[in-house]
C-alpha cells in the first residue's frame, strides 16, 4: 500500500494531467468531428483557467461556481467570435482561430492588474481532487458518446463528409458548426479550470501557439474517428516525455522521432481498428 502512496505522491500531478489533456484532446475532436479545424482551444482553456482562478482568488467563489464560470466564459467567447469565424474553412479557419488565440494571450499578458501579466497568477487554491478529474473525463466521454449517436451527431458527421450536401439535405450547417464550436470551448474551459486549480499557478505562455498545436497533435496522433483515439493520444503524449527521462538532454529528440514514426506507420492515428484487425488477421493467416 505504501508503494502505491509513494507512487501517488510523486506522480499524482502527472496522472491528473493525463485527465486534463484528454479533455483538451476531446474538445478539439468535437470540432474536428464536425469538419472544422479550429485551433482556439488553448485560448479557450486559458480563458476558463483565468476566469475561474480570478473568481476563486479575488472573490472567494466556491469551486462549483468557478467551474461553471470557467466553462461559461469560453463558451460565450466562442459564441461571439463563432459567427464571423466559422464562415472560413480549412487552414484559413485554423489560422484565424490560432490568431485569435495569440490575441487572447497578448491581452492577458498586458492586463496586468487583473491577470498578473507575464508573471501569471500564483497561489490558486488547490481545489481539484483526483475524482473531479476522473468524473469530468467520464462525464464528457459519456456526453460525447451520446451526442455521436444522436441526430446532432449524425448531422456533424454529414457536415464533415460534405458540407454542401449536408446543407441540401436540410441540415442547419451554421447552427451545428456553432454548437460544436461552443461545446468544444466549454470542454476546453473545463480542462483549464481543473488544471489551474491543480497546478497552483497559471501564466499566459501556457496557452499560446505551441499549446494549441500540442492539443491538435494529441488528437490527430490518437485518431479522430472515435472517442478512444483522442484520449489515447492525450495519454501517450503526456507520458512519453516522462518515460524518456533516461535519454537526458536528447529525450525530446527521441520524443520527436517517436512522433514521426507513429505518423508514418499509423497515418490514421494510433487507434485504428481496421489496421489492428489487419495486423492480427495477417498473423492468423500465417499461423
Amino acid at each position: 500500500m505504501s508503494a502505491l502512496e509513494n507512487f501517488w505522491s510523486v506522480y499524482s500531478n502527472l496522472v491528473l494531467t493525463l485527465g486534463t489533456n484528454s479533455l483538451l484532446a476531446l474538445s478539439i475532436w468535437l470540432t474536428l468531428s464536425c469538419g472544422m479545424l479550429a485551433m482556439a482551444n488553448a485560448a479557450f482553456m486559458g480563458i476558463g483557467a483565468y476566469t475561474s482562478a480570478i473568481l476563486s482568488m479575488n472573490y472567494g467563489a466556491p469551486f462549483p461556481v468557478a467551474i461553471a464560470a470557467g466553462m461559461a466564459a469560453p463558451a460565450l467567447t466562442a459564441f461571439v467570435i463563432g459567427k464571423p469565424t466559422l464562415r472560413l474553412s480549412g487552414v484559413y479557419l485554423a489560422m484565424a482561430t490560432l490568431a485569435f488565440g495569440e490575441v487572447v494571450r497578448i491581452v492577458v499578458l498586458n492586463a496586468e492588474s487583473l491577470t498578473g501579466g507575464a508573471l501569471g497568477l500564483n497561489g490558486i487554491p488547490q481545489a481539484t481532487q483526483w475524482w473531479h478529474v476522473l468524473l469530468a473525463v467520464v462525464a464528457v466521454l459519456f456526453a460525447l458518446w451520446r451526442l455521436r449517436r444522436s441526430k446532432v451527431g449524425r448531422a456533424f458527421e454529414a457536415i464533415k463528409e460534405d458540407e454542401t450536401a449536408a446543407g441540401l439535405m436540410g441540415i442547419d450547417v451554421g447552427g451545428h458548426k456553432m454548437l460544436a464550436f461552443v461545446l468544444g470551448a466549454a470542454i476546453a474551459g473545463l480542462a483549464g479550470v481543473l488544471n489551474a486549480h491543480l497546478t497552483f499557478f497559471i501564466g499566459p505562455n501556457e496557452f499560446g501557439f505551441d499549446r494549441g498545436v500540442d492539443i491538435l497533435t494529441m488528437t490527430v496522433l490518437g485518431g479522430i474517428n472515435g472517442l478512444t483515439g483522442p484520449v489515447l493520444g492525450g495519454v501517450i503524449l503526456t507520458v512519453l516525455p516522462e518515460a524518456l527521462r533516461a535519454f537526458g538532454d536528447f529525450r525530446l529528440v527521441v520524443n520527436g522521432v517517436i512522433l514521426v514514426l507513429i505518423v508514418l506507420f499509423l497515418p490514421k492515428g494510433i487507434w485504428d481498428p481496421a489496421r489492428l484487425r489487419q495486423w492480427f488477421g495477417r498473423k492468423g493467416a500465417t499461423a
Binding site: P84, E102, T217, V220, F250, V253
Partner: protein, 293 residues
C-alpha cells in the same frame, strides 16, 4: 522620423518575406503546411555560425554552407517523412503533424548539441557602417536583406511563370495526378521544391540571425508564427503574396510600436490577421475559389 520608421518597416517586412518565400513555396507545390520550416531556418543559422567561427570563413561561405546544408536537410525531410506519407495518401492534416515531430527533433537536437544559450556570429562579419541618405539610416545588412528578398521574389516569380520548370510546378500545384499523366516528373520536382524551400529557409536564418544578432535553438518558433501570418495574409502558396504579406506585417508592426506602444506589437500583427481573414477569407491578396457542386 516617419521616414526612418518606414525604412525600418521595409527591412523588417523583407525579413518576414525572406522567411515566408520558402514556406509558401512548399505549401504551393506540396500542399503541406511545413511546421519544421522554422527549425530548418534555425539550423541554417547554426550551420553558418559554426563554419564561420571554426574555420574563420567570410560571410559568403557561411551563406553558401547554410544554403547547401539546409537544402540537403530539406531533401532528407522530404525523402524520410513526406514521401512515405504521399505514397500512403495520408489525410491532409497528417503531414503537418509529422513536420511538428521533425521540428521537435531539430530544435532539441541542436539544443542538446550546442546548448540553449545564444551564440553569435564573429564580431566583424558585417560592417557596422550605415548609409546615410537624407537623414535616414540604413545598414549594409538591411540593404542586403531588402535587395535579396526582392531579387529572390522576382527570380521565383519569373521562374514559375516563364520557364518550363515553372509551368510543370504550377501543373503539380493544380493536380499532381494530372501532372504525372502529362509526363511530368512529379517526385523529382517535389524533391527540388523541398530542397529549394529549405535552402531559402537556411539563407533567411543566417541573415535574420545577423539582423537580430541572436542565434538560439528556438529562434525559428516566433518566426514560424509570423511566417504563418504572412502567408495567410498574402494568400497561401502565392510568391508575390508572401512578399506583400511580409511587407504588410512589417509596416503594421513598426508603425504600431511607434504609435501605440511596443507591448501590443504582436497583438497588432495577429489582431490584423484575424480581422483580415474575417473580411477577406482567402487573405488580402489571395483569390477566392468558389466551390461548384
Amino acid at each position: 522620423m516617419l521616414e526612418q520608421q518606414l525604412v525600418n518597416a521595409l527591412s523588417l517586412g523583407c525579413v518576414y518575406a525572406l522567411f515566408a518565400l520558402g514556406f509558401t513555396l512548399i505549401f504551393g507545390v506540396l500542399g503541406v503546411i511545413n511546421l519544421s520550416h522554422g527549425a530548418v531556418f534555425m539550423v541554417g543559422a547554426y550551420a553558418a555560425v559554426q563554419i564561420m567561427t571554426h574555420f574563420d570563413l567570410p560571410l559568403w561561405a557561411g551563406l553558401l554552407f547554410a544554403f547547401v546544408s539546409c537544402g540537403v536537410l530539406g531533401l532528407l525531410i522530404d525523402f524520410l517523412v513526406l514521401k512515405p506519407l504521399r505514397a500512403r495518401n495520408a489525410p491532409h492534416l497528417i503531414p503537418m503533424i509529422a513536420t511538428i515531430g521533425v521540428a521537435i527533433i531539430l530544435n532539441n537536437g541542436v539544443q542538446g548539441l550546442f546548448g540553449a544559450q545564444n551564440v553569435r556570429f564573429p564580431a566583424d562579419t558585417v560592417s557596422g557602417e550605415s548609409l546615410n541618405l537624407a537623414g535616414i539610416h540604413l545598414t549594409a545588412l538591411e540593404l542586403g536583406i531588402i535587395l535579396l528578398s526582392f531579387v529572390l521574389m522576382a527570380v521565383l516569380m519569373l521562374a514559375l511563370k516563364r520557364t518550363q520548370l515553372g509551368r510543370a510546378l504550377r501543373a503539380i500545384a493544380e493536380s499532381p495526378k494530372a501532372a504525372y499523366l502529362l509526363g511530368i516528373n512529379v517526385e523529382g520536382l517535389f524533391y527540388l521544391t523541398s530542397f529549394a524551400a529549405a535552402a531559402l529557409g537556411g539563407l533567411a536564418g543566417v541573415l535574420i540571425g545577423l539582423y537580430s544578432n541572436a542565434v538560439f535553438p528556438l529562434m525559428g518558433q516566433p518566426m514560424l508564427h509570423k511566417g504563418i501570418a504572412v502567408i495567410i495574409l498574402g494568400g497561401m502558396g502565392d510568391i508575390r503574396g508572401a512578399m506583400l504579406g511580409g511587407l504588410f506585417l512589417g509596416f503594421a508592426e513598426v508603425l504600431s510600436v511607434a504609435y501605440i506602444g511596443s507591448t501590443m506589437r504582436d497583438a497588432v500583427a495577429f489582431g490584423l490577421l484575424f480581422l483580415v481573414l474575417l473580411v477577406r477569407p482567402k487573405g488580402l491578396f489571395g483569390t477566392v475559389q468558389e466551390r461548384k457542386v
